[in-house]
Amino acid sequence: MLSVKDLAVSFQTRRGPVDAVRGISFDVSKGEILGIVGESGSGKSVTSYALMRILEAGGMIKAGEATYTGIDLRRAAERDMRDIRGREISMIFQNPRAALNPIRKVGHQIEDVLRQHARATRYDARDKAIEALRAVKINDAEARYHAYPFELSGGMCQRIVCAIALACDPRLLIADEPTTGLDITTQKAVMDLVRDLIRERGMSSILITHDLGLAAQYCDRILVMKDGAIVEQGDPVQIFSDPQHPYSRKLVDATPRAGTGVRSLLPPEDRGPEPNPQVSDQPVLQVRNLTKTYAGKSGPVHAVKGISFTINKGQCVGLVGESGCGKSTTSEILVRLLDATSGEVIFDGEDIARVPARGFAKDARRADIQMVFQDATDSLNPRHTSRQTIAEPLRRLGKMRGPKLAARIEELAALVGLPLSLLDRFPHQLSGGQKARVGIARAVALEPKFLILDEPTAALDVSIQAVVLNLLVDLRAKLGLSYLFVSHDLHVVRLLCDHVIVMKDGEIVEQGAAQDVMSNPQSDYTKSLLAAAPKPPQRRTSS
């Protein structure tokens, strides 16, 4: 149905031409779901944009062929391409709410596409639009027709985007990272919907994602791309059990899944000895009946509703939940950036929740509780070099200056594996993994007792994530730290944590030893979370 041969795409940038795709070839047959998997910069999204001929200005197809049921996509006239887009080949994107016109009713947006492709007239457009909404399993389609995107949730918006894409009954659907940014349960709902619709209509589909596990679960065949080239093709079980190319082997290893340890995320040559953290049964932090209530626009908002848990010295406790469950609020209270409404936070025998957040910067215990922030770009001051960023806590709390300070910074850089030459670079000159290391170096600079890690690897590529997770494990053992690891990724939590807490709507629905909760969940919510997480096939040869 779709045949691509030696496709090459390049962009004109200020620094000269950049080859984003370097001669790739693949086919998509009728009724097949093909997954294109790769990390950032692999060229996977660019490929789909090139096929649809919606590349940004400056991008062009340099060489190669792309044929869709006999039509030459590369040389077709723009008018013909417009016919094809939406009617034959459709596309859905990530970040669904931004993908919809914010000031136009969603029903009208569907009508626009129907009328453009002459699938409806002025008179029956409304009915057909409501039909399209029903096809994506939206209840109450008549009412939703009149909604604006800002009134709908992320998952609902993605359904609308699907409705628009499928309204004219295309034969091929390209899905570009459709689940990024959505909660796990919403992810599953969206992916299941897309797969069901594709099967129902006998369509083909290309699923573009960075999540190998997701691709393995939903795709018939997978392509692995790196630096603009395809390194391996095959069916998911094949690729997972016996990856041929070193890069796909690296990707498969790095994908967290059940039954592996944190070391096996790394390629065999990089694996050090198994970590040996000392976990005691002395508590380092105790939370008792913590609550946080905000005054919202329509009444009080109970972000945290009386939670209690304990973290022992040397332990790594995972805090899991979807967005809005209160985990971020909890971590901000624990690290004393936010005041609780009531409850106790007992650290080193004293209730630190008593000390107001505003004054905690001067408290003697400030250096003992630190945090690694998510979104490494935002967590580093754009005006400070890495050296200055790491130096900040050492100067202010450690009162270090001069040669002692410089020595300590270099020591920390070595500890987190940051090359010394990168110390004088600004955040925009560093890669994601390097920024993560700077953030970690800053957090452990004063050798705190307790470290909160707020989704530290959420924005990282999976192979970099593997490295950073191993680093965190090593640091914990070496420095005797205790962690609270906040994440939405259950597999990662399973790898790292001894103990797990599951939160929903401000309450703890389940907590216990990680192995117990993960393999034998008691609460329905935990069960649904586990069911929703993509399950990559097992790797047969795990050396």
């Binding site: 919606i54 200005a57 939406g86 016109n101 914010p102 000031i103 453009q116 492709h117 800002f150 894409a165």
Partner: protein, 344 residues
């Protein structure tokens, strides 16, 4: 009913927000003359006054009373529409302003319509055809436009079109003396002459209006064009345009239906600021072209220290501006469906 419709609530809130602003405006215009250094009585008594008549003026104006009491009297007068007496004309300031307001409004509104008619298409074209001559023209217009001093452009235009080319009539006001003023309906000569069917006078008024309106328009072109171009560029590169293109929506529909309407929103917001500049530049243009509006009234009053007139002018301009801003904000509320809602 208010609870049911967040947009109605937002509208009412916006109108209510104007009230403290109006109060602030009244207070400041009061302070400008009464509480500041210098003896207001001296100003109000006139240039050739002696100590006795200054004292008389002081008592007559109530300037010997305590400040809060003066303020109450001031507000009381305002509510009755009394802005004081003009020294130079001898009439009430309110009457003077009312008589001259239509001239200023005709000038400003014509200029703004002209500016929008040129700047918006220019901005849109520049955004949709980046790198072409239209784009460069837009950038030159914008940069030059914000650098041009209005009074200088006016003078330059007079020199070129009146002195050198002889195309424009002499810059001596709204209508050459050979024409009679049209019957007063709105005070806008163009409208009144058209209503009367007197096309001779209409042409005469239009000829006088072109140069000053163009001067003012040149000045206001720049921020409008810049904002239109910038917001159109932002809209064109946003995700929902990508979705629309991927769904095969045709170019005119994508451009105008989706991008332009979204791009308009920040432009409407900018209009408020543009009005502020326009009303200020109005004063300068009126002086250059001897246009009998409230701007030149204020300038003449300043020269002879006719204090009540200046104060009345400042107050009137501010209230006009507050009303304009309110209208713009309400217009925005009507266009943007997101107003009044907190986004998820």
């Amino acid at each position: 009913m208010l609870a049911a419709s967040p947009r109605l609530r937002a509208t009412v809130l916006r109108v209510a927000q104007s009230i403290p602003v109006v109060i602030g405006v009244v207070v400041i215009s009061f302070l400008l003359t009464r509480a500041l250094p210098g003896d207001p009585a001296v100003y109000f008594a006139g240039v050739a006054a002696d100590t006795a008549s200054i004292e008389q003026t002081r008592v007559a104006m109530g300037l010997d009373k305590p400040l809060p009491q003066q303020f109450v009297i001031y507000v009381g007068d305002l509510l009755q529409g009394d802005l004081g007496q003009s020294l130079s004309s001898g009439r009430s300031v309110a009457a003077d302003l009312a008589k001259r307001l239509p001239a200023s409004l005709e000038l400003t509104l014509t200029a703004l319509l002209l500016a929008i008619a040129i700047a918006v298409p220019l901005g849109v074209l520049a955004a949709t055809r980046p790198g072409t001559w239209v784009d460069h023209l837009c950038r030159v217009v914008v940069t030059a436009g914000v650098s041009l001093p209005t009074f200088f452009t006016g003078i330059l235009l007079i020199y070129i079109f009146y002195y050198l080319l002889g195309v424009s009539p002499s810059p001596l006001g709204r209508l050459d003396f050979i024409y009679l003023d049209p019957d007063h309906v709105t005070g806008f000569y163009l409208i009144d002459a058209a209503l009367m069917g007197d096309w001779e006078t209409w042409r005469g008024a239009a000829k006088q209006l072109i140069l000053p309106a163009s001067t003012l328009a040149l000045f206001t072109l720049a921020p409008i064009a810049r904002m239109t171009r910038a917001s159109m560029l932002t809209a064109l590169s946003s995700d929902f345009i990508r979705t629309a293109r991927a769904a095969g929506l045709s170019n005119p529909r994508v451009l105008y239906g989706y991008a332009f309407r979204n791009a308009l929103l920040p432009v409407v917001t900018t209009l408020g600021m543009v009005f502020s500049f326009a009303l200020g530049a109005n004063v300068l243009v009126e002086k250059v072209f001897a246009w009998p509006g409230i701007g030149s009234y204020a300038v003449e009053a300043l020269v002879v220290s006719d204090y009540a007139a200046v104060q009345g002018f400042v107050l009137a301009m501010a209230l006009l501006f507050v009303t304009l801003n309110l209208v713009i904000d309400l217009l925005y509320t009507a266009i943007d469906p997101r107003i009044g809602f907190s986004s998820k």
